[in-house]
Amino acid sequence: MQRHEEYVLNTVEERKVRLVRLWFPDVHGQLKSFALPSTELETALSEGMHFDGSSIDGFSRIQESDVIARPDASSFEVLPWSDPDERAAAMVCNIENPDGTPFAGDSRNVLRRRLQDIRTEGYQFMVAPEMEYFIFESADPTGSPIPIDQGGYFDLTTADAGSDVRRQTLATLEMMGIPVEYSFHEDAPSQHEIDLRYNNALSMADDVMMFRLLVREIAQESGAHATFMPKPLPDVQGSGMHTHMSLWKGDDNAFYDPDAEYQLSAIGRHFIAGILAHARPLTAVTNQLVNSYKRFVVGTEAPAHVSWARNNRSALIRVPLTRSTRSDEGAQLGSSTRIEYRAPDPACNPYLAFAVMLAAGMDGVERELELAPEVEGDLFSLSTDELAAQGVIELPRSLGEALEELETSDLLRAALGEHIFEWFLRNKRAEWDAYRMQVTPFELARYLPVW
């Protein structure tokens, strides 16, 4: 037995863990899990858990539906919010075919494959997402959601009733070993932001899954409902998942060049160019819901155009100011040079989102794509013609438009793999069509009386 597994079995015994939650993401990025009594754990570790994958979204195949969930012992973590008498632990699983090969519908595997590709060139991909979400009184879909407070940006007042929940969330995150960079009340009522500290993309995607789970569980404990839905309220800004990215080669940040403009290296510039080149199809993955596109509204913190800038909050990519001298890890100067991609929203599948963002960026690096000049000034105040004159195009305005872009993208097809690519397109098309069939209250109110 491997030492990892020995560690897990010992800890289960010593810490009196009763239940182990084995989990994995479906293709939407929803967390699927089954609970295992700890007595069954040893078998699960050595043989994996066989199950019928046909009812998992994105897993179904025509001939063969049996898959194996193989728990990754290195991910074993006791859940800090579990009852000490009925302590629970969690482990993420890799999904395999019965012959032991990686299963093509496992989005974790998609990201792992991308990371292996860049590893052969000596690179490591680090990401740090800013998670935004709302806390409402309930999940009742029949009315407009009711915020639990009326706090505003950075508010710390009694108006911020959600801050207790947030404080508890932070404490739990720390106990889970998910370090937080910042947290604050966001712009909108009941909207919160928690910025996670960077980590390698695979661990971070796992953390995003855990993050969404525990935020919802903690809100639920206080009788509220936390949601990562991108745009739950029509009149206030939506929730994004701005993602900071950097590439590392050993100890060195490959995006850092002390002599370059903004200390952004040639690799960093190519990476940005790659993402911009593929930004339109990328959106289908980073913003996968019909509702996602209602966040891309002119005049908010969300981008609507494909552009980059040093420091322009209407840009799709920013190169944030780095605090080059501050680092509690003692890392060298400039280690925090990074780019911030502002399109993703927190309802994405983080594995697929990080995988396609990386694939797009690396395409820019490999083809040494030239980076267009940055676009300063408020993009929202410029007309489409003025933007076109600067070579700025728009992000897709709807899921339907994004899916059309996705369908023609060879890069994303390769990055996602045939299985997920096909399933995703088919499933999302159906979602888009179902939405288009709706007759909305807007239409009734506007047209019924006068036509």
């Binding site: 560690y7 800890t11 590893r119 960077y198 390698n200 661990s203 100890d251 890890e329 003692g330």
Partner: protein
């Protein structure tokens, strides 16, 4: 008080606390050991070292990097080969050998740069000896302690100030590795190869990420247990010695 001649048969000898290598030992080392009333012996060559240590397996080994660091590492390997790797090892090295020490994976618990400051030497020796004793206590269960931190090597459990720490396997291994050599500074590269194994592909950032997670789990009160040594790496705790 003590002699450097390892001639007495083991069963007649008083309990030997320190074995120095190679003989003849430097005068200031002999003086420091004598002043501290430590019962010590010295071994002239590796085979003599092995037989002395097998007679006194609990004794702390003080190994001087003479003529070079290579000989010191070789001596440690010989002891390990003879299954005598249990007792603590304090290395005495020259300033110019620090590079070799940092690059080495030899099982050294602490070191002192010669010519040493007598008080520092005593403190480091006391720590190494104390660590050795602590490993042997607790009913045969191997336990590593540092301040409020306790790690049970047999059951893989960790606690700080009596509070159990729920760690992942790699977090546990990293903490254990650092706690086994308190005060010793490890580079990120050496931690990667020692804790993760040389075949691990992750970059040095992996170490930073795990340290950050460990600090988060240790809690604010104890987060400074793992210290960042600027532009070098990490260490666990401070080495303090009487001034």
């Amino acid at each position: 008080m003590s002699s450097s001649a390892p001639t007495e048969p083991a069963d007649l000898a008083p309990s030997v606390e320190v074995i120095a290598f190679p003989a003849p030992v430097a005068p200031d080392l002999a003086r420091s050991l004598d002043f501290a009333s430590i019962e010590w012996r010295a071994a002239g060559d590796v085979s003599e070292l092995v037989s002395l240590v097998s007679a006194h397996p609990e004794a702390t080994r003080i190994l001087t990097a003479e003529p070079g660091f290579t000989e010191l590492s070789a001596a440690i390997k010989e002891l390990a080969a003879a299954s005598l790797a249990e007792g603590g090892v304090l290395a005495l090295i020259k300033g110019g050998q620090l590079g070799e020490l940092m690059a080495s994976d030899a099982a050294i618990d602490d070191f002192c740069v010669v010519p040493f400051h007598a008080a520092e030497f005593e403190a480091r020796l006391a720590r190494v000896r104390g660590a050795g004793r602590r490993m042997a206590e607790n009913d045969g269960e191997e336990v590593v302690r540092f301040g409020a931190l306790v790690l049970n090597v047999d059951t893989y459990q960790a606690a700080i100030g009596g509070r159990p720490l729920d760690l992942t396997y790699m977090e546990y291994e990293l903490l254990k590795f650092l706690a086994q050599s308190p005060g010793k500074v490890f580079t990120r590269a050496s931690l990667l190869s020692e804790v993760w194994g040389y075949d691990y592909y992750g970059g040095a950032r992996t170490v930073d990420v795990h340290v950050r997670r460990l600090r988060a789990k240790l809690g604010e009160e104890h987060s400074s247990l793992i210290q960042t040594v600027r532009s070098v790496g990490y260490k666990l705790g401070e080495v303090r010695w009487p001034s």
